[in-house]
């Protein structure tokens, strides 16, 4: 009577979550549509002058993706909490933080990565400047996993509450603001021809720190939410 290996458990969880996303693939398009709509509204509101749009392009794309990510955050644990799979996850003999890290990774892969892939297109809609064109995806690649990890902790804390959407937004925004400042800051620096490596490195350092600590905090928060 011995439990299976931890890697088998992680693989089973990743396979299940990917299958679930595929079965609900209609929902997976929502964040992309949201970001597309937000970004395409800006030229309509501000007028089509490329000069105006170019100045704000990176910032707008960054904010649109951040909000789209916030929209998708609630789905991370919601259905697992409602159907009782979260209980089973907590009761499994494997480290909960590792299983949650797998869940967050799949969530990032299926919600944030598609957004990063369409970010260059969104940038073109706003006449993004030449040097920012490749700094933006790099900044997003570092910033979005950080956002997912920070967001997961806040969602884990509130998953037991009904209608927790507003609370999650309030908890998450103060944590998201520094990420936004560094990410958009790198893009702005690149646009003005200034060195942009430092903010990117800060993002990378914060990402590594969150990768280690957030799953642990997330596991502790979920145990509290379930009790």
């Amino acid at each position: 009577m011995k439990p299976g290996s931890t890697s088998a458990a992680c693989a089973a969880l990743i396979r299940r979550d990917l299958t679930l996303v595929w079965r609900r693939r209609g929902d997976a398009l929502n964040p992309i549509l949201f970001a597309l709509i937000v970004v395409s509204l800006f030229p309509l509101a501000l007028g089509p002058e490329p000069e105006n749009l170019r100045r704000i392009a990176a910032g707008v794309v960054f904010v649109a993706l951040l909000l789209a990510g916030l929209l998708a955050l609630d789905t991370l644990f919601r259905s697992d909490y409602e159907d009782g799979s979260l209980e089973q996850l907590v009761l499994s003999p494997h480290p909960l933080s590792l299983l949650l890290a797998c869940k967050i990774a799949v969530h990032w892969l299926t919600t944030a990565l598609p957004l990063i892939l369409i970010a260059p297109l969104l940038g073109e809609l706003l006449h993004i400047a030449e040097p920012v064109r490749w700094v933006l995806p790099v900044a997003l690649l570092l910033a979005t996993p950080l956002l997912s990890l920070l967001g997961a902790v806040c969602v884990a804390l509130t998953v037991g509450m009904h209608r927790s959407g507003m609370l999650v937004a309030l908890l998450v925004l103060p944590l998201y603001v520094p990420v936004l400042i560094f990410g958009a800051g790198a893009c702005n620096a690149a646009q003005s021809g200034l060195p942009f490596l430092a903010p990117l490195l800060w993002l990378g350092a914060a990402f590594v720190l969150a990768l280690v600590l957030a799953p642990l905090a997330c596991a502790a928060a979920l145990r509290i939410s379930l009790s």
Partner: protein, 249 residues
């Protein structure tokens, strides 16, 4: 294995003065009982008596307000408990978008598999052959319960905590649960089950723990008198004798 051997070892699960209160409102306890390998014990109580809460406390999901739980004679921690316990709670833990087989395969990956059983045989064991590829969403409430029971059956654990395993099941399903419990007890496992009525047992009554809201429930009116005695006495071996009404196939 002769049943007297079960009691020479420390009890699989022991509770001493176990109580739980939510926001200072007592939910159950203090309770004293012991559960030995090979035993099936029925927790009885009305709606709101704290049966489900008791199972959640015993599964380690909730921390007791006071009292102590011992697992094989040692204090309980989630890390020590989780490889040994399978919980069937009100929520099935099944994904409606996945098929019965996919749900079981995931459970097998997460918790491991009991020797000599596979997701396919577990599904057949609960009478759902032919439903492997049906999305769980399309199954009836009773069939979902059976899939959840298959998950419990699959887990390589000794202790089953089943919350209302008879709910939503037809007569055939009730017999099935009794048969699964009997087999589990016979191979040295133990189970705690809750029920708000004794309709499932027509004969061979198992040991009972009566629960009443906010009380220790002393002076049980059900006659088995096992509540605070820590599982001593003659009715112990009644645990394995859950009788199923045999007869029609």
């Amino acid at each position: 294995m002769p049943s007297s051997d079960f009691h020479d070892r420390p009890a699989l699960l022991e509770a001493h003065a176990l109580a739980f209160a939510r926001n200072d409102e007592p939910i159950f306890g203090p309770l004293d009982f012991a559960l030995h390998a090979g035993e099936v014990v029925l927790i009885e109580g009305d709606n709101g008596a704290g049966k489900s809460t008791l199972l959640r406390v015993l599964s380690g999901l909730l921390a007791p307000t006071s009292g102590e739980i011992r697992l094989n004679g040692e204090p309980l921690t989630l890390a020590r408990l989780s490889p040994q316990v399978a919980l069937l709670s009100h929520q099935s833990g099944l994904k409606p978008e996945l098929t019965a087989m996919e749900n079981l395969r995931f459970a097998a990956g997460l918790h491991g598999v009991r020797k000599g059983i596979s997701p396919a045989t577990a599904l057949a064991g609960v009478g759902l052959e032919g439903y492997a590829d049906v999305p769980t969403r399309q199954l009836s409430a009773g069939q979902k319960k059976r899939v959840a029971l298959a998950r419990v059956l699959l887990a390589p654990v000794g202790l089953w905590l089943l919350d209302e395993p008879y709910a939503n099941l037809d007569l055939d399903g009730i017999r099935l649960v009794n048969r699964l419990l009997e087999n589990h007890a016979n191979r040295g496992g133990a189970a705690l089950i809750t029920s708000h009525g004794a309709y499932a047992y027509t004969s061979g009554t198992p040991r009972r723990i009566p629960l009443r809201h906010g009380e220790s429930g002393e002076a049980p009116s059900h006659g088995s008198g096992e509540l605070t005695s820590g599982g001593s006495g003659g009715s112990r071996n009644a645990g394995t004798s859950i009788a199923e009404p045999r007869g029609e196939a």
